[in-house]
Assembly symmetry: C3
Homo-oligomer: 669 residues x 3
């Protein structure tokens, strides 16, 4: 385990308009940059012609970095294929539901194509042979942001049918599971299974999504096995996982099962991009970090994040610094920018790196220098921060599929919106979370509160784990749609919420879109607007449950909106509709208090606070001012030291954080 923090940037000698690697290394060294990420996506320079290899850019970067005392993470270049490969083997381009692909962009290939795999393996092996002699290579990144790229050609279809055979055994079983009698979709033999890209059957479509996410697991495992042959013991294997993309990293990745895909790596990595300027909140940094940390329940690397980034992300003074320490506060072992220099051509010309196009030191570089200095100085105290979270959010790719295939009314609110509605409310209350996945059933018991957003599609076993969690004393807070369908997207023919009516102590069989519907309850005093039901409403009919809120509406007033039920030793809260964030926070406050999770930190969230325990066993608290105003607050934790300034601090002491400022408090041992 490295002793200090990694701080770095992606570096592309290949893209430079002139040879200036010595200048760059010098600038990096001065800035405190101690790692670069190279080679990813540069296949065409490494193998400019089929079978002709040229690793001069790679070697040059490795050697210049070595001489400057800079570590290197080497990426396999496989996510961008060279023109000669597409020209010789057009079949490597993925056929998607929109037809055959064209050469041009990256991530356009069929990752199952044998031709692609043949050439990919060869370039990976050659690259590994080249880099294995360099001691400053600390790890390898497999591919980049791998996904299935919607591959759906005839060969993929054939693999999918085999997958179905293995899953279901007989066509009859599949017909039953998918409800294929509907609209004459019943299949008579495996040969006649239709192309799923035309289907109107969400169960079938969902199965295809599961299958395609499996392709990513298999692909990364395949690369991992190849790469492993060349690595020293001290070198890690990582991957750059990315998140649902809404022009920034928004939620869990729809096309990859991060949890299972991460089996191929030894150190989790991700990229996190986020709005900035007045829209910088730290939420994406926290969410992306919490997910990545949860993949292997360990520290992780931020392999890419923005320096200047998009035109509307140009950072204010102090923001790069605030962002860097926020990553560390989530447990990041290192922060790397994408990328060192702004590119002078092509589609990412305006996705600016640390240096602008003129390649001169600039405002961003100057702020990087201050961060580099502090990372170097404080790294040993900050690296390897451990979390002790009492709350977890259960996320699920299959539930996400469910709300994609059976969208909520209006089509604008998807699964990740619901995840973030809950996550963001907790973040606003300074409640830190771990992220759980459907395979984490045995870990539920470790948390005092489990938050379950719209678990649309779930196997019986997962619902049973939730029941058991509550029975054993857990506090469960689940939303509308939870348990609605099984793992084949088949809606339960039993009372809803499926298998959980006893746990929640209520049922429902109708729902509608709210129009001018408001919540009525006995807690929280909110304005009318904040009480409005935003989207979806289930008509809850309590049995043993207590009603926390009802609907106010001429026709629907007889139904409950939010219920809480004592079940075994625990409590199960069900939210039957999407409320305003303000309302949700009131409800969370009520339940956090009940679960004994409410402290001063939640009470006065003038600033964002993130905490953990460092390798020396000291409790650290990051006070983050995500605003353009100076913020005053009291120091809420045990006596200790503010690390950046070295000043000691006493519990209760008043402190001020400058705009976009940060304080790092280490409690005395």
């Amino acid at each position: 385990m490295r002793e200090s923090l990694l701080y770095g940037a992606a570096y592309y000698d290949e893209y430079m308009p002139c040879n200036r690697i010595q200048t760059d290394m010098q600038l990096m060294k001065e800035a405190g940059i101690n790692v670069i990420r190279i080679a990813e996506s540069t296949w065409a320079t490494e193998e400019p012609q089929e079978g002709v290899f040229d690793f001069s850019h790679v070697r040059r970067a490795l050697e210049a970095a070595r001489d400057a005392g800079i570590s290197v993470i080497v990426g396999t270049p496989t996510y961008a294929i060279p023109p000669w490969l597409a020209a010789k083997h057009p079949e490597v381009l993925a056929i998607t539901e929109h037809g055959p692909g064209k050469y041009g962009r990256r991530q356009n290939m069929d990752i199952t194509s044998p031709a692609y795999r043949f050439y990919a393996e060869r370039i990976i092996r050659r690259l590994m042979e080249c880099v294995q002699e360099y001691p400053n290579v600390i790890g390898v990144q497999l591919d980049n942001e791998t996904k299935h790229y919607n591959t759906a050609g005839p060969n993929v279809h054939r693999q999918f049918v085999w997958h179905l055979r293995e899953r279901f055994g007989t066509v009859e079983a599949m017909n039953e599971a998918f409800g294929f009698n509907y609209w004459s979709n019943r299949v008579d033999c495996w040969e006649n299974v239709p192309d799923p890209t035309g289907t109107i059957n969400g169960s079938f479509a969902g199965a295809f999504e599961i299958f395609r996410r499996g392709l990513v697991d298999e692909f990364l495992a395949w690369q991992s096995e190849i790469v492993r042959e060349y690595l020293r013991e001290d070198q890690f294997i990582t991957h750059n996982f990315d998140y649902e993309w809404r022009n920034f990293s928004f939620g869990i990745q729809p096309d990859v099962n991060h949890k299972s895909a991460a089996r191929a790596i030894t150190l989790a990595g991700c990229d996190i991009y986020h709005p900035t300027q007045d829209r910088l909140t730290g939420k994406e940094i926290a969410f992306g970090g919490d997910v990545c940390r949860s993949l292997k329940q360990d520290n992780y690397l931020v392999l890419e994040t923005q320096a200047q980034g998009h035109v509307n992300w140009t950072p204010y003074d102090g923001q790069l610094r605030l962002q860097a320490f926020s990553h560390v506060a989530s447990g990041a072992l290192g922060v790397m920018y994408w990328h060192w220099h702004s590119i002078h051509n092509a589609v990412e010309t305006y996705w600016k790196g640390i240096l602008s196009h003129d390649l001169l030191p600039n405002a961003a570089y100057r702020e990087v220098c201050t961060i580099g200095r502090d990372f170097k100085r404080l790294g040993p105290q900050l690296a390897g921060l451990k979390k002790e979270n009492r709350v977890a959010i259960l996320t699920s790719n299959e539930a996400l599929d469910g709300l994609r295939l059976f969208p909520l009314p209006g089509g604008k609110v998807g699964y990740n919106d619901i995840v973030r509605w809950l996550y963001d409310a907790l973040y606003d209350l300074n409640v830190e979370c771990d992220i759980l996945f459907p395979e984490d059933g045995e870990r539920f018991a470790g948390y005092a509160m489990l938050v379950v957003p719209a678990l649309y599609s779930a196997p019986d076993s997962l619902l049973d784990s939730l029941n058991e969690y509550v029975r054993n004393g857990g506090q469960l807070l689940a939303t509308f749609k939870t348990g609605f369908a099984d793992e084949t997207m088949t809606v339960g023919a039993q009372a809803q919420p499926r298998r959980m009516t006893a746990c929640f102590g209520m049922t429902y069989d109708q729902f509608t879109e709210p129009r001018e519907v408001y919540l009525e309850d006995d807690f929280g005093h909110l304005e009318e607007g904040e009480r409005q039901v935003k989207l979806w409403m289930e008509f809850l009919r309590p049995d043993t449950a207590e009603v926390l809120a009802r609907y106010r509406h001429p026709a629907w007033g007889k139904y409950a909106a939010v219920t809480a039920n004592r079940y075994g030793k625990g409590k199960a809260v069900y939210i039957g509709c999407q409320t305003s964030p303000a309302y949700l926070k009131r409800l969370l406050e009520r339940q956090l208090k009940e679960a004994g999770l409410w402290t001063e930190t939640q009470e006065a969230p003038a600033v964002t606070i993130r905490s953990g325990v460092n390798r020396q066993g000291r409790r650290l608290h990051f006070y983050l001012n995500y605003s353009g105003d100076e913020k005053r607050t009291a120091y809420l934790h045990g006596n200790g030291t503010e690390l950046l300034s070295g000043r000691s601090v006493c519990r209760g002491e008043k402190l001020a954080l400058e705009p976009w400022g940060v304080g790092i408090y280490a409690e005395d041992a």
Copy 2:
């Protein structure tokens, strides 16, 4: 003719997650349901493999229904093909302007494909053989919501060219008719007639639409002939016609000529879906019913309507009941829900039936029970209601094509918007209408007022029929665009309105989009906003006509907007622009009064009133409260009895209708 009302639901034993047909029949029987609709769209269960037939679901449903005393309408299953058919004969999937189709959804086939016809005929015959022994089969439904599905492949193109040869005789005649000299589109021989899906010539495109609607007529006639071989005298042949779809049934169906297609059937049928909750107005129920009743000038079946339906249609208490009696008030012989149970898979999972997914009696079922009871009790008095309408609206598929191919500015207001602008205003005034079609010229004389929305494309003969109608004393009320083009979408090179300048006593040669233009007239006192011209304005120059309204505008003030002309014994009113509904109602009031069609019923439309004469010759009046408030009104008709309560009622008596309530008054004989 059946003595009582039919009340029922579509029933799919095939889609049930478990065998519960006895439970379902028992529940239906208790609810007063006396008919189910089966088999439609279940080809793959009836013929799970090519040539292997299995009618066990069909027989089971027929027998369970028979044992419960429930009648059955059997649908041919041909509108959803099995996977094996698409796999073996990919050519059965329609090629449309967007390219070849994919298997998956229903209604994806080329209805002219011989392979499709071969297998379709076989399954129809086998099904008919199976069901003909069951006495409780009261009728057969051909296919379902048949359309041409935009079929436009090379084989269809060849048929289309033959159609053109028959229509025009020579390419020269076609070139003239279509104005093919424009942009070098002139054709030299039939072989070189281009694919119409790329055309910029609206005449050619319109001819293709006419041809493709003809395919539907032919297809239904073909099925009808097959089915007829198997039927008893007392069994009817019906079809489920649907309407222009805007997430509910909005206007006349663009892709089918309902009037000509209905020649294939013996009893008209349709589906009607509509907004509900606070948006329930009864207008779609009335419009769809009026169209369907007009197809064979007889009573009809509502083969499908919503029980719970879409998420935003979940009905308020009382609404299902109000809807059911509204259908009857339009002359429906029966009301059937789509569908009995909510489906647990695929694209219509959220199109809920009477039962929710949990298959338990629920709010919807309980209201169905009350309707079933009243239908049973009052059926003999309500079934077979006859209408005696004095007003008719002339609709035309070709006019609809015209406004699709030559859209009004903005592209948002189509033909059906204009139809509904007029229809809805009449509905608001409690003026009931019949619907007429271009082939109904000889029936015009039967009406005191004829309303003609935007008859863009019309043969000379139809315009001449309108002239004659007025000459003989009719009151004609036509809107902008009427008569503009002939039946080939060729704009007249004579003065506009083509062939009707004498009838309307005015002409025009310019038009524009209104911007801040208002109507000025001597009748009706409306606010500024209600006087604004909404869309389109023709610059009418009266000759013999009286000006009912002018435009108020610095440049266009010299032109008339609405004119009225005495012509022969009748009156022809022309509306040169789209006005607000309020303005239109003032104008209609003026003209209805002139035509002697204005009564107390029009005067105070606090409630919707629909009337007719029952089989016993008694005059029935349905008082329908389409609102969430109690409505008070006077009883406006002859002394009689309120049928639901059995209370007698006197003309002028005050009565109150509960929210979404209904009263049915039978005048004393």
Copy 3:
């Protein structure tokens, strides 16, 4: 050179629903129409079958016109191919990025297809043979609105690769120039150059645009050479150039290099369409005219403009007249309407000509008569007006490509929006402009002020010409993005603005999207709203430059927004952001004053004033009232005569222009 003005319309005997050419010629003659434009787009009537020629419509029009004393411009019919050609040679239809084309619309062919060229040449030659005997043919129009129609099939790709070979010599040079190392796009041999329609590399995509615009140059030159063989000395060759189309003529044409394409012709021509009614401003007439006049630095023809045009263009009384004289005021030699009669079929049915569909004299025709009369009377004084503009705007297709390929944030503001933002502000100040193109470097010195909108992509030589222009005393006013990338869309790796930091006396390396950012300066007193930065903001850091405006914003206040720098004998102003039109006008006023270009005409722009020198050497001033109100102003020029009324006028005299009125003042010699 013709002595008087041409006034006319496109005439299509081919499209007439009946033979009425004598009537039409009589109506034209009475209206003062002295020229018609024929034959363009009528290939299928001229060659109804392959190899069968029929010029009867052409001859009939030529002879009827001759007999009526009307001149004729003959168009080659090649931009609309007949069905037989597409049927026999489907390969003539252009394959675009959306796949193969369909027959139907015009301008659907691959203009490089040998089959198309073969048949096109034959019909051109036959048509020329036919028309060469007619003395009333005054010129020929090549094709119509020629563009490359996005042709991108395999054959075009092969030509493109040859073009790249010629441009770059080696793949290595191309790889460097395009930055093809990025994302593995590096190419190993010419055979493997990928299809540019899939590319993510803007340099490559931009090169394809340059190549395709070259196809248009070549095509018109090819037609010109053929046509030239048949022409008399006094006959001109023209082409109907059109502009960026936003449902009207908005800006410079993205798909054609007007300047280089115009080498094929002897007299520039264009079509200009514009909003009308209350939205008529004269800006499109002025802009389109200024561009067209600049192509050959000579007078030009308006070959098409609207009579009635679109539904929302129906002109108010006086507008046709105002438009006609505005064209003349820009230097037009003639004004021709598209088209004489409204067409009764197909896609342009609602693009109405002078006559409406009823073919009777109407409001438009009556106004045409007054214009014809005045053109005839005043033509010798108005034809051939020369401009003496002191201001020019530099436009560039490559810069336009740049902002298409690298769009400004939001994607709504393109290059032409910036051009028009500047042009329209100058127009509002009555500052007339010439238009310059990148090849016009040697002409810069002729102007006192040079305005340069967003010159995103420019070769070094062009930037050097601008530097030299300023050094020698010119006033340069350039906007954001100027000089950002070189001619291959590669962003400069030097300080920005590339090669011009000395000239502008400032640099910048960051930029962002403005949110609530306002300009602060010492000149002009404008409301808050008018000072808001609209789009894009560069963070200018002045070196020798004076700051004319700064940004007001908590984070960006340290940066300049507008700078002015003395450089050599001249002045270079740089605008780093898009401002409101009002703000821009204040800035222009400041700079025009500094350049000595501010006169009374700019001071009081109650009316639009356009000036020039006629063939008799007299200075003419057109006073144009682009409003629906009477406008009062003073006469600001030398004593003279108002030509329409014949009244003499003295400098300073008060005059009133009626709504949409026009006055033409000729200064005494």
